[in-house]
């Protein structure tokens, strides 16, 4: 009997962290030992694939027998032998380890364009990409299409910048083409720094060739011969895989001089960032490549006119480029119809926080937040109540439950006081304090402010001080108004996007959760029982069994009591660390 068996092991950063390498090695060892290829099948091999976006279930393993795919979750190296013996050799899947309907639901409700190959192909092998139609679009663009033709397709597709601002990509390319210059650059912005966002990382790690292919097409469309991929330093695996991909392209003559045998040449280099969030901003990123401090400059002209080294530069985000080959192959209409009237196509979000299924989610623009969080995300973890969803990272805002039916596109999210941003989506439940959440985001932007302009450097600092005051129970009348005033000034007068959006988390929570701020200031109470200075821990005598678990974990020796009789917390000594609360099995500790 001849069988075709492929075993795919998820090896994104999440997969590797959960032991993916060991799992893959074990499978390979089993295949060699069993001498399976000689015995029952003409083809059995195990390969690594990129992130498929469901990292909470890693290591995920696909066993594909004659095109029938079975997915396993939480696989450890010691589980490999059983899967191999029962499923690969005898054809009976190990039912209790299957990823199950949850996994299928998570995937079936998505529309995969950018992520279509992520988790399916081997990201370190160019032939694996070519086998699924890779580089056909670039070949077509370079050999058969005029630059204007490419620009028109991208314009008609309604593709907009996926880095967050949503500038129409086709317009940017058109400008890039129109400007005459001996040297032009194409830059891919892979400086993904928003906390809670990891879609660009997954694309660069899982399907690096799609980004390179998109850049080749852009280079042809704008007649540029040099390009950079700017990758943030915190993504070593992405750098490694992109580097491999570039080398493979050079060997096949997809990059370099006279690519695909044409008279067009395109060189591509990776520039590794050095750890500065603000470098995600286009002008700061270009200063960084020039070897300077990564500080933004006033936008007196567009990058397409004067960018890197004062030469015309077209800069797009990773996801934007990854969309391009699919648009060239399937046509502008196909892509436009996937989205809404004003924004074509799909968007990848990284769904995280207090949601049951965390991971990467690709959906058509225009879908509602509710569908993403409940249908794909599976609702709130632990049966708690939904409170808000934070979109757009530290530049975005919190959207409350009553706006869950908001359509996800650039304009609707902006109307709701947030932004699309690069695609971070963090779900917050009833146990989240909104004041504390706003403080968290402001801490981030404040620390990452480059210091060039005053509103951002000093304004965010002052806002943060007010928030610290409020969360420590020292808030006073007028604080809310002061926050709003400061926030609006910072928004209006900052130099770059980082400052202009820094106040969004505070302003949006003030808009929708003002009562929480008031509770903190007037009643010195944190409704979600999060802010340490405003909560107390007490043991409910009736529920306490006197087991002593809390006493053992208390780092401050603040818990008194003898075995089998109710314990008591000494409020003078308590440092409010919450260890006792987590240790108690009988829910006998009250946190208010």
């Amino acid at each position: 009997m001849e069988k075709n068996i492929i075993i795919k092991v998820c090896m994104g950063t999440g997969g590797v962290a959960s032991g993916g390498e060991e799992v893959l090695a074990k499978f390979r060892e089993m295949i060699t030992e069993s001498n399976l290829n000689a015995k029952i099948s003409s083809n059995c091999h195990a390969q690594k694939v990129g992130c498929r976006g469901f990292c909470s279930k890693d290591v995920l393993v696909d066993v594909i027998v004659d095109d029938v795919k079975t997915t396993y979750k939480h696989i450890k190296p010691d589980m490999v032998e059983r899967i191999f013996n029962e499923h690969v050799i005898n054809g009976v899947p190990v039912n209790e380890w299957l990823a199950g309907p949850e996994y299928n639901n998570f995937h079936d409700k998505q529309t995969k364009v950018v992520l279509s190959h992520c988790g399916d192909i081997d990201p370190e092998d160019i032939d694996s990409y070519i086998a699924v139609g890779g580089y056909n679009a670039a070949k077509k663009a370079v050999l058969e299409m005029a630059p204007e033709e490419i620009v028109n397709i991208i314009k008609n597709s309604n593709l907009r910048g996926r880095g967050g601002a949503g500038f129409p990509t086709g317009l940017k390319w058109e400008l890039g083409l129109r400007i005459k210059s001996d040297v032009k650059y194409v830059i891919c912005n892979g400086d993904e720094g928003d906390p809670g966002a990891f879609m660009d990382r997954s694309v660069m790690e899982g399907d690096p060739h799609s980004v390179i292919e998109g850049m080749i097409i852009c280079a042809k469309a704008t007649q540029s011969n040099s390009g950079y991929i700017y990758v943030r330093a915190e993504y070593p695996l992405a750098v490694k895989r992109l580097q491999m991909a570039i080398e493979q392209c050079l060997m096949k003559n997809f990059l370099g001089n006279n690519i695909f045998g044409s008279d067009f040449s395109f060189d591509l280099k990776i520039f590794q960032g050095a750890g500065a969030f603000v470098c995600g901003e286009a002008t700061a990123l270009m200063r960084s490549i020039e070897g300077k401090r990564g500080m933004p400059s006033p936008k007196l002209w567009r990058s397409a006119e004067r960018g890197l080294w004062d030469k015309p530069t077209v800069l797009n985000n990773v996801e934007t480029f990854a969309n391009v080959p699919k648009i060239i192959l399937n046509g502008a209409n196909w892509y436009r119809k996937l989205g809404t009237e004003r924004s074509g196509g799909t968007k990848v979000f990284s769904l995280s926080g207090k949601v049951r299924n965390t991971g990467l989610v690709e959906v058509p623009l225009g879908i509602s937040l509710r569908e993403i969080i409940y249908d794909i995300g599976g609702g709130i973890e632990g049966g708690k109540n939904f409170k808000a969803v934070q979109t757009g990272g530290p530049s975005g805002g919190c959207i409350p439950a009553e706006l869950l039916d908001t359509e996800v596109d650039y304009e609707s999210l902006a109307r709701a006081g947030s932004i699309m941003g690069s695609g971070g989506m963090v779900v917050l439940d009833e146990n989240t304090c909104m004041v504390n959440t706003a403080k968290f985001f402001l801490e981030f932007t404040q620390a990452e402010s480059c210091g060039k302009c005053t509103p951002c450097r000093i304004g965010t600092k002052r806002m943060l001080e007010i928030l610290e005051r409020i969360t420590s129970g020292k808030g006073k009348d007028g604080d809310i108004e002061l926050l709003e005033e400061l926030g609006n000034h910072i928004r209006a007068t900052s130099l770059c996007g980082l400052g202009m959006t820094a106040a969004n988390p505070v302003l949006s929570t003030l808009k929708y959760f003002r009562d929480e701020y008031i509770a903190h200031i007037k009643e010195k109470r944190c409704p979600a029982a999060v802010c340490r200075d405003l909560i107390t821990f007490t043991i409910i005598e009736e529920l306490c069994k006197g087991c002593g678990s809390c006493k053992r974990v208390c780092p401050a020796d603040a818990i008194r009591g003898t075995r089998k009789s109710p314990h008591r917390i000494d409020k003078e000594l308590c440092i409010k660390c919450g260890s006792c609360f987590d240790a108690c099995k009988f829910k006998a500790i009250l946190k208010v």
Binding site: A17, V183, G196, E234, A274, S288, E290
Partner: protein, 161 residues
């Protein structure tokens, strides 16, 4: 990387023909700093002085650039660099607790290195493994789902190892 051996044209690559000498040396600065740090673990003052002469960039400017980026360090670093993620997802799942625990255990504050250079403790914005929150990284390895004392103890053992 030895400062004496830096070949500017080679580091710049293909774009070299179209850039002025000044742009070239500046353009490779961050890359060279990264390599020096990779070799030596930090950026020693005497190496930066040599680099300043070699690339003809004022020392003040080299420090200006290097100090802007978080990745560059001017002091020796611990053998294990532990970064606790304080990104949103990790934060809401209790990464502050992990950080406090490590600070107490090793008797240092975030940003410091232990005297015996075993480890440097830092925080990081987001390492992009939100599905595994809370996470910390030990050098380049990600340790995920650090919830409960057992996992914390394992983390400490891994650092000491």
């Amino acid at each position: 990387m030895k400062v004496e051996e830096i070949d500017v044209d080679n580091e710049v690559g293909e774009v070299s023909e179209i850039l002025s000498q000044n742009e070239k040396t500046k353009g490779i600065l961050i890359h060279v700093l990264q390599q020096i740090q990779e070799d030596m673990g930090y950026l020693p003052d005497e190496v930066l002085r040599k680099l300043s002469k070699k690339l003809n960039i004022p020392l003040s400017e080299i420090y200006s650039v290097a100090s802007f980026y978080k990745m560059f360090h001017f002091k020796p670093r611990g053998k294990k660099v532990v970064r606790v993620c304080l990104g949103t997802a990790c934060y809401v799942r209790g990464s502050k607790k992990v950080l406090n625990m490590l600070e107490n255990e090793f008797g240092i504050k975030s940003g410091d290195t232990t005297e015996d250079l075993t480890m440097t403790l830092e925080t990081v914005g987001c390492v992009g493994c939100c599905g595994l929150a809370p996470v910390a990284t030990i050098n380049d390895n990600v340790v995920g789902e650090i919830i409960g004392n057992k996992k914390l103890e394992k983390l400490i053992d891994d650092i000491r190892e």
